[in-house]
């Protein structure tokens, strides 16, 4: 490897030097490459194993690699869920001195998956809708901090299971730009339109590959993002005015935002001169209302919906034991040591890595509910756990880092493999 190789990294990662940087990414040996399903990318993206975790490597020009690296770091500082930038590799050369493209290395989040890994044979309608809902939340959060994405799509997002829903993480910030003064309505609308078209395209593609369950209308599902986004945006940012004797509406607004998973950090409250009306508008909102509460009470780090689910269980635990008025932190400690931890400890060690602990706990609660419905009796948690481990968990794939055959991604404009495609039966006219 020529000595001139240049690595910019936030953390010291000596194993980075072991990757074969002197070869073009498309010719890296199989033992280096991790097979992961991925989205559709403009650039060549491959995954490699790096000291126990998986990194995504994207070849691009130096300026863009650096720009995206910095952008991801900024987004992380702004508490936006996104992939972790690991390094920028520049000054790459082959053994005989030919110049190679720069590379951006990002860390693949544990338990996060591309949308193409979220179905076994074909994508189900409820999965598609949940993905779109998760993406809407991510978009709203990005827009609130002034980030114009420019290429919103399912492919540019990773999804993590979150107690029956999904949490979305930004993967590709290449086209994005951060605006200090916030985004204009036109920019937000444009991102929304890009999202709508891209999601429909991605679902049409699944349909063309026979991977979309019948009855799903890609256009209808993709239109869902517009509705979901607008609802959230309005709740999080709009001003409301009411008579000054209706002050309960302030706490109502706060509760509504909490239910959506947000905390209000700053609320502007204005009264008119006569003091007859009050106008309120959230100024700073923070995602993660339930996650934060769970973390504060129990030290558990979980997704927003997982946290909501665990907190519900915690609250009903308190009610069952008549502890509603006891110190919340003490109750939480009891719940943790008598409910949550024993459950997780009872799961056979070899199965524990399949899902996040909070996700397993959520699934267990769901499983117990279904069993109880079925058998028309209250199933004790221990009994439900045995059934869940044997009938559900044991048969699930390991989702920490999914290894599956990669899907055929098309890279543009670098790739140029020429192979003949079988002509499709019927005319293209039937398909446009």
């Amino acid at each position: 490897m020529p000595a001139s190789l240049n690595i910019t990294a936030a953390k010291v990662e000596p194993a980075l030097l072991d990757l074969p940087w002197s070869a073009p990414l498309d010719s890296w040996p199989d033992e280096t490459i991790a097979a992961l399903p991925k989205g559709i990318s403009r650039h060549l993206v491959r995954f490699a194993n790096l000291s126990g975790y998986v990194v995504a490597i994207k070849e691009t020009n130096e300026e863009m690699a650096r720009r995206e690296y910095e952008m991801l770091r900024t987004l992380q500082r702004l508490d936006i869920p996104c992939v972790e930038p690991v390094a920028v590799i520049t000054n790459r050369h082959t053994e005989d001195g030919a110049v190679l493209q720069s590379a951006l290395v990002t860390r693949h989040l544990k338990f996060s998956m591309p949308y193409r890994a979220l179905y076994s044979r074909s994508m189900r309608p409820d999965t598609a809708v949940r993905l779109v809902d998760a993406l809407a939340v991510l978009m709203v959060r990005l827009h609130i901090v002034g980030f114009f994405w420019g290429d919103v799509s399912l492919s540019n997002t990773l999804f993590r299971r979150d107690a029956g829903a999904f949490a979305a993480y930004l993967v590709d910030a290449e086209t994005g730009q951060l605006y200090q003064g916030g985004l204009s309505n036109g920019q937000r609308e444009n991102d929304l339109e890009i999202a709508r078209v891209n999601i429909a395209g991605e679902l049409f593609d699944l349909e063309a590959g026979g991977r979309l369950e019948e009855g799903i209308d890609p256009v209808e599902v993709s239109n869902g993002i517009v509705e979901q986004y607008r609802m959230l945006w309005k709740e999080l940012t709009s001003a409301e005015t009411f008579a000054s004797n209706e002050r309960w509406r302030i706490s109502q607004r706060v509760e509504r935002l909490n239910r959506l998973g947000f905390d209000i950090e700053e609320l502007a409250i204005k009264t008119d001169e006569g003091g007859t009306t009050v106008r309120i508008q959230p100024k700073v909102v923070d995602a993660g209302h339930h996650s934060r509460r769970l973390l504060r009470l129990t030290g558990l780090d979980a997704g927003e919906n997982q946290a909501r689910r665990l907190l519900n269980d915690h609250d009903s635990f308190a009610a069952r034991r008549g502890l509603e008025d006891a110190d919340e932190e003490q109750v939480a400690h009891q719940w943790l040591s008598t409910v949550f931890e024993p459950v997780i400890r009872s799961i056979p060690r070899e199965l524990r890595g399949k899902l996040e602990a909070a996700e397993m706990f959520h699934q267990l609660l769901d499983h117990r509910w279904y069993l109880s419905q079925d058998q028309n009796r209250d199933i004790p948690l221990a009994e439900a756990l045995t059934s869940y481990v044997d009938n559900v968990l044991r048969h699930r794939r390991d989702e920490a880092t999914i290894i599956e055959p990669p899907t055929g991604a098309i890279t543009l404009p670098t790739a140029a493999q020429l192979e003949e495609d079988e002509p499709q039966p019927g005319s293209w006219r039937d398909k446009v």
Binding site: S184, G186, Q187, N190, G201, I410, P413, D421, V432
Partner: protein, 364 residues
Amino acid sequence: MASVTFDKATRLYPGSTRPAVDSLDLDVADGEFLVLVGPSGCGKSTSLRMLAGLEEVNDGAIRIGERDVTDVPPKDRDIAMVFQNYALYPHMTVAENMGFALKIAGVGKEERATRVLEAAKLLDLEPYLDRKPKALSGGQRQRVAMGRAIVRQPQVFLMDEPLSNLDAKLRVQTRTQIASLQRRLGVTTVYVTHDQTEALTMGDRIAVLKDGILQQVGTPRDLYESPANVFVAGFIGSPAMNLFVADLTDGGIRFGTGVAALDRDVQAATNLSQVTVGVRPEDLVVSTTGEGLQVQVDLVEELGADGYLYGHADVAGNRVDVVARVDGRAHPNAGESVFITPEPKHIHAFDLESGQRLTRAIHA
């Protein structure tokens, strides 16, 4: 198809005192390819985003055709941002890739097929309509991506540095393709680049911006031959025009040991005793008479038939870098000292203070 008008369009970012785009007046004719060019931060991308509806217009108006679109949302402006997204879908055929956005827009099947076929013919993609993207070459894939924009039949195409992430070879190829395709389609196009070569080779007309202010708009030839001010003179052309301060004398300007003739009206147009003089490298001649500006040759870059001489001279005690085009076979060598003189017809003079052009426009 339609014309585009920026009518004193202004964009002032919150918290900023100087507009990012300041009272931009610009008319783009129906079917024209207009390039917005300038250095980073000049307001070219902001102007394009104002036209796209992504930036608020704080003052003035923007019209597409006769329609005032200043407050119209982006998707209702009937414009297409080309190359916004290169992604092609691997399981869909070329035809599906090109036409799916029409499906979303609710365009009927017959109409979709007609538009896809038309676009495919224009892009030489007709034989591939039934193929999947993986069976296409890199260039063909790019044309499919363009096809996605074309089938929408927008009034205006907008392109913001579309070639910036391509390697040098593909950039030159794609540049030519875009320019020729735009001419075949005849769709009004506004194209943003920081690269003056791209601007010169692609645009019908070029608008040069600096600090949010339009400096000059004209054909590539206009800008090259008659730059309106020192900034345009230095920005357009590669290698750049030689620019230095020279004393006015009777009948012209002091040029080393000699005097270079200038329009009479230049002297009348300024009350200063000096001007900024500009001469393009190809308009400098190595003199055999020992008259002119004495230049110390630092380097000669041979490019086959031609070459460029890079050197420096002393003008009134200041070091001035000089570039001159020379014969590729017979040229002075590094270390030598030569005298150069300008072609009298191709001397540009600019006001020392305002930077504005003093010489009459040169007509080719």
